[in-house]
Amino acid sequence: MPYEVTTAVFEGPFDLLLHLITRNQVDIYQVSLSSIVDAYVAELDKLRHVNLDVATEFLLIAAVLLELKARRLLPGSDDIDDEEELALWEERDLLLARLFECKTFKDAAGALMRMMDAAGRSFPRTAGLEARFVELSPDLLTGVTPDRLRLACLAAMTPRPQPRVDLDHVAPIRASVGDAVAELVVLLPGAGTMSFAQLTADAGDRLSVIVRFLAVLELYKRGWVDVAQPGNFGELQVWWLGDEGDGGDPAPFSPLDAIEEYQG
């Protein structure tokens, strides 16, 4: 075998969790959340040398696991906020779904490998045309000048914009509702009432407008603003009602509270 795994190298958090759960699959009643979480955290401990990005992903899952475990350990969970409880179960279902997906592709990968191994036992003929026919082949260099060749070489040697951090998932404009809310709670108290058009006058693009709108809704939900619209497609008016409980703290949101990145 060209590769042989001698130490546990888990390619990702789901990989590890899947491994920990399914290795005890023989008797599912032996599987205990508690021991899985412990084992997971024990593995995390070994990951200290791993780069930050990887470790972060593992930690994220660890946090969810620990929360699940903590919830399980609580004797009576009647007094626990329903919404929180629900959110936790949602997390759990999400985790379950991702484990499921991870397992599916792991097995698919196994099948691909078997197919490759089987196909790899045959070697293709690639000999190409016999010499006497080669002259008949179209000349691939038609239209290629020495200068084009030079440009092609330069192009090939130009470092690709590639070794960058993977930003594919980041929209060019990052607009967060949290930031927009913070802006509005500075802007609105002074003005009292503003139209939505005024609020978005400086918004450069549709995405920013949407984010501002979501911010207004968020404030409305919290009872800090009131909104009125005089009929369909009418100009939306936003009133500042103020934050009764707290002396107008301009940064009312904890980072994990409502800040979402919108990618459009």
Partner: protein
């Protein structure tokens, strides 16, 4: 005696570098693609029946000659150069994701894998299994990846349709139950003697993951 079409197909496939699509053979031979397919099937069966050391196969959308898998030992002794090392488990799983979800962006792949896949994707591209096939029309215009003709060749497939259905890898209810239990049970069930396997930090067993 062998027909002209039969012989011409043998001659042309013999001098090709890549699998030759049947429509190209049909065009050169001035017969229908269906006839080409039929003759190729007969030829392939003939070689198999005569126990030849080579095969005529349909792969990546065309026909090619290749050595019989039985004789891999001999051919490997001759052609050491062409031997690529096997893909790592991580690379294989990433490749499976691209194969089944294509066209797909790196970020989408990373999301399922739970880790950054930049270097693995580069390796796969380097080896010619995947390539850029377009750009996401949405904001960000992420590069989208798909598998290549070479991927099909490496798997011995004629087309992507021949990939085994993903549904067949979806874990059965017992796995679902185990996963579910793993994230649910255990409140009042301390394991007798403690989780002995926690100390066992040795093998990363892909096999133990419930392969058939």
């Amino acid at each position: 005696m062998a027909s002209e079409v039969e012989r011409a197909i043998e001659a042309i496939v013999m001098v090709a570098e890549e699998p030759i699509p049947p429509h190209l053979l049909a065009q050169i031979l001035e017969v229908t693609p269906a006839r080409v397919e039929e003759v190729c099937r007969q030829l392939a069966e003939g070689y198999a029946g005569e126990d030849r050391g080579f095969q005529l196969v349909r792969v990546a959308g065309g026909y090619r000659f290749q050595s019989h898998p039985d004789l891999a030992g001999y051919v490997e002794r001759f052609a050491l150069e062409g031997q690529a090392t096997r893909l790592s488990p991580a690379a294989l799983e990433t490749l499976a994701l691209v194969a089944y979800k294509q066209p797909v962006s790196r970020a989408q792949v990373a999301e399922v894998r739970g880790v950054s896949v930049d270097s693995v994707m580069r390796t796969l591209q380097h080896r010619g299994y995947i390539s850029e096939v377009g750009r996401d029309p949405g904001p960000g215009q992420a590069v989208l990846y798909g598998t290549t003709a070479r991927f099909l060749e490496k798997l011995g497939l004629d087309s992507l349709d021949q990939l085994p259905a993903l549904a067949q890898f979806v874990p059965g209810p017992e796995v679902m139950e185990a996963l579910d239990a793993g994230l649910r049970h255990g409140a009042g069930r301390p394991e007798p003697g403690g989780p002995a396997w926690v100390a066992d930090d040795g093998e990363a067993d892909a096999e133990a993951d419930g392969e058939p």
